[in-house]
């Protein structure tokens, strides 16, 4: 059985190809980390397997990044010279074949007599060279060294792209800082203003609530808080909204106490509640009911905000979540994007809505997620 399966691997030439591809695949994850000494060191072993030479070195303008092959005094001798050998190619970008009088160290036992130096090029720039040391140079070795260097160039370019992508993502994250909506600030201040003459004491209390709310929402420190703190802030928000809507705004809470210590990105519940207030109350004259639920789901907490207002067309919500419409539900899109950034794509917002059927927004938070800690 085993022998028969072996046959499927094909001719010796096929097998050689597979072996080469496999060796290359072993080297590539290290090269994808970029040309650091650690990564180059790990990759160089596999690269030498590919070339089958006595030793190889990877050098950049600062010196030898990695050496693999013969050790002992031979290594230290040649390692010292490697920078000089690499200099020409680093400048010109052309492959150099160096003979014994450039390379050999004088020790007759030394397996290193010649070297092929091939450039590693990314974005038109020579970033390093691959030096293949051997006993004597053949045309095949020159060709092989050039090909391997070209392949390494490709991998290093991918590493650059990866870094680029991470930078882009961090910039996006910075742009995705939690936001409070300008509408709310305007409306809250207007509502407070209306109490200044009729009920100065209440106006003062509301202003203090507003101050506390802003301190929480505009804080600089960490990005995370506990559900308990977030709910406390939702309460401040609702006190301010109640000043505006009075008895028309009814809120009920169903919170499992077990999930209060769960760490969540801050300002993720408040925008959902704000959204519910806007959809549930604005534009009508009746009473709006808002329900905030937090349930314990073993490894996760499930949080939902529901209103019984006008609801909306699912297509509009879909557009808002994918960031297409900048108008109505900008809060939803922001919360959704931040949740996905932190916990991965399976943890976005789930919105259930239809015209005249209210809206329910649900999301889940894992109780533990590596690297996520609340800051006071």
């Amino acid at each position: 059985m085993f022998a028969r399966r072996r046959k499927h691997f094909g001719t010796p030439a096929d097998k050689a190809t597979y072996a080469t591809l496999h060796t290359a695949s072993l080297a590539s994850p290290h090269l994808r980390e970029g040309l650091t000494p650690a990564a180059a060191g790990k990759a160089s072993r596999h690269l030498r397997d590919l070339l089958g030479t006595a030793a190889i070195a990877i050098c950049d303008s600062s010196g030898v990044l990695a050496w693999d092959g013969v050790g002992g005094p031979y290594e230290s001798n040649h390692r010292r010279d490697a920078k000089d050998l690499a200099a020409t190619t680093l400048r010109s970008g052309r492959t150099a074949v160096l003979g014994a009088h450039d390379v050999a160290c004088g020790d007759p036992q030394c397996p290193i007599r010649t070297a092929v130096v091939a450039p590693i090029v990314t974005e038109e720039r020579v970033v390093a060279v691959l030096v293949a040391y051997s006993n004597n140079t053949s045309a095949a070795l020159v060709r092989a060294t050039e090909e391997v260097a070209r392949w390494v160039s490709g991998q290093v370019e991918l590493a650059e792209l990866n870094k680029e992508r991470t930078r882009a993502m961090e910039a996006e994250l910075r742009a995705l800082r939690a936001q409070i909506s300008p509408h709310f600030i305007y409306n809250a201040l207007a509502a407070i203003a209306s109490f200044v003459r009729t009920d100065p004491e209440r106006a003062r209390e509301l202003l203090l609530e507003f101050a506390d709310f802003s301190r929480y929402a505009l804080r600089r420190g960490g990005e995370f808080t506990t559900l308990a703190d977030e709910l406390r802030n939702v309460e401040r928000y609702l006190v301010l909204e109640q000043a505006r809507f009075g008895d028309r705004l009814k809120v009920s809470l169903q919170i499992a106490p077990e999930v209060l210590p769960v760490v969540i990105p801050f300002l993720v519940v408040q925008p959902l509640v704000e959204n519910a207030v806007r959809h549930g109350l604005e534009g009508t004259t009746g009473v709006g009911n808002i329900t905030i639920r937090a349930r314990d789901q073993i490894n996760e907490a499930e949080i939902s905000v529901e209103d019984d207002g006008a609801g909306s067309d699912p297509e509009v919500i879909r557009a808002a979540l994918s960031g297409e419409s900048g108008s109505d539900s900008v809060g939803l899109g922001n919360v959704d994007a931040r949740l996905r950034q932190v916990y991965g794509d399976t943890y976005g917002l789930v919105v259930e809505t239809a015209v005249d059927a209210g809206t329910k927004v649900t999301f889940r938070i894992p109780k533990y997620s590596s690297g996520v800690h609340a800051s006071p």
Partner: protein, 526 residues
């Protein structure tokens, strides 16, 4: 004992458990008062819940049986079960809460930054949980057998099915108030018969007489009553396992997460100590009374003494009623501990072993809830099969092995991980593997038939005294040998673990760099 009354009582407990499980979520409190809604679970409630979940079949039935058969040495069981929380309080409670970990694998990951250590921990949680579920099923089998005469598989099956349905349907979860109620139910069920017996029956002198003379050896510490060799070694080993094993039990840590901060975690532990101390007063009383009223049970292993004693003292309706109360309490013990364990094990199976695979197999087309349900089924089927294969070990003995395994694996991980800065990732993994293999080898030998007599039996029967130091030594030696594998974030972790929440310190790097790794995750799938 009249089966009808007892069965009714057991049935009531079962119905109540399922009912609360299925409908409890719907009647969960609704309020429009933020102050009420965002109030954390108080240490007192949380402590009742921890005690309710912790007091298992081994505590309810096993301890009394062991004392009845093997004499005064076995009192250490009740001491050890309680003192475990003292160790938890002194060594790990507050730092563990501050770590933000929900499960033991979470702690391993946050402290050692290694998926390998995390996976080993996940495997151990499943192992310890299974070893701990085994005696719960065994106890349920015994209880049903004592009441009705049905074979032990019946009772075990009943508990297994109820727990799986309940957990999979989303009931019982971690509802703190349900588990807290269970503690008081168990305490009432165990204490009431004792008080009735002591009040109604006016010859306490007779009991003390029975402890002299022929039975003097029974009441004498380290007397080899019950035919155990090397009682001194066995006692110390047992104490080590119980004291240091509690912190590694999977269902205990999960509940500490409910505490809002490290200080609350400590206060909770203190209350737990008091509640457990109160509870463990009663099992030895059953044993002493059983020595007088049911001496024949000594030959049968004694695990049924709690269930049978009321009927022996009061033949007739009074005895039946008290017996039914005890049987109901015992069933509550099996159900609550099994549910807690199953939830904890299933959570780990789901998170660490099942979900990513399910995601791959179904191409992302699955519902998270289903993954958990499958995990719950697996978490119960394995111990049930193990129960049908293995014979009847004494209840508290199997639990002792689960504690020994926890003490030889998670105890070094937690204690050194929290208090020793130079612990390396390799050291952590090596300690878990060595301690785990040593303790589970002992457990396997025990379950499949312990060697007879002498040191081998003592060493295998109570392995903690050698497996736990072995694990500690492994961690220390390997960590010293691999100083380059000390996690890079050790200093940061230590600050987080040991600084009270109220103190404003830098708890780590800016969140942005923190999250860049996880932020890269979705993009890779896309």
């Amino acid at each position: 004992m009249s089966p009808a009354i007892s069965l009714t009582a057991i049935g009531l407990v079962v119905v109540a458990t399922i009912g609360i499980g299925l409908f409890g979520l719907r009647i969960s409190r609704t309020t429009s008062d933020f102050y009420v809604a965002s109030r954390a679970v108080s240490p007192r409630w949380n402590a009742s819940a921890i005690s309710g979940e912790y007091l298992s079949a081994a505590s309810f039935l096993g301890v009394a049986g062991l004392v009845l058969v093997n004499g005064a040495d076995m009192l250490w069981f009740s001491v050890g079960y309680t003192v475990g929380y003292l160790m938890l309080l002194v060594l790990v409670a507050a730092p563990l809460r501050r770590s933000g970990a929900y499960t033991l694998p979470d702690f391993a990951e946050t402290r050692f930054e290694s998926p390998v250590v995390r996976r080993i921990c996940a495997g151990l949680v499943v192992g310890i949980g299974t070893l701990y579920l085994l005696p719960q099923l065994h106890g349920a089998g015994l209880a049903v057998q004592t009441v009705t005469g049905a074979p032990p598989q019946v009772g075990a099956m009943i508990v297994a099915v109820i727990v799986v349905i309940n957990v999979a349907a989303g009931g019982m979860r971690s509802i703190t108030f349900v588990q807290a109620f269970q503690y008081w139910l168990k305490l009432t069920a165990l204490a009431t018969p004792i008080f009735v017996i002591l009040l109604v029956w006016h010859q306490p002198v007779g009991v003390l007489d029975s402890l002299h003379g022929a039975a003097a050896e029974w009441a004498e510490p380290l007397s080899r009553a019950g035919g155990r060799d090397h009682p001194l070694y066995a006692t110390y080993s047992l104490l080590l396992a119980l004291c240091f094993g509690t912190m590694g039990l999977p269902h205990v840590l999960v509940r500490f997460y409910t505490n809002p901060d490290g200080r609350a975690a400590r206060r909770t532990t203190v209350v737990v100590l008091a509640l457990l101390g109160l509870f463990y007063l009663f099992p030895p009383m059953y044993a002493v009374l059983g020595r007088t009223f049911a001496p024949d049970l000594v030959g049968t292993g004694g695990d049924t003494v709690v269930l049978e004693l009321p009927g022996r003292v009061f033949p007739g309706t009074a005895g039946d009623l008290l017996g039914a109360l005890v049987a109901a309490g015992a069933f509550a013990a099996f159900l609550s501990t099994s549910s807690g364990l199953t939830v904890a094990i299933a959570g780990v199976i789901d998170q660490d072993l099942l979900r990513s695979r399910l995601h791959r197999w179904t191409g992302g087309d699955y519902v998270a809830v289903n993954s958990f349900r499958i995990a719950a089924l697996i978490a119960m089927i394995v111990p049930y099969l193990a129960f049908t294969v293995t014979g009847a070990l004494s209840l508290a003995d199997t639990v002792g092995l689960a504690f020994a395994l926890a003490a030889s694996t998670f105890c070094p991980l937690l204690v050194l991980g929290i208090w020793w800065r130079r612990m390396s990732t390799t050291g952590a993994a090596a300690g878990l593997v060595v301690g785990g293999i040593a303790a589970s080898a002992a457990a396997l030998v025990n379950v499949s038939g312990a060697p007879q007599g002498g040191w081998p039996r003592a060493l295998v029967g109570q392995p903690a005294a050698w497996t736990m130091p072995l694990a500690f030594l492994t961690v220390i030696v390997v960590s010293k040998l691999t100083p380059d594998r000390i996690p890079a974030g050790t200093a940061r972790s230590m600050v987080r673990l040991h600084t009270p929440e109220a103190v404003d310190v830098d708890r780590g790097p800016a969140p942005l760099t923190n999250r860049s790794t996880s932020a890269a995750r979705p993009a890779r799938h896309a």
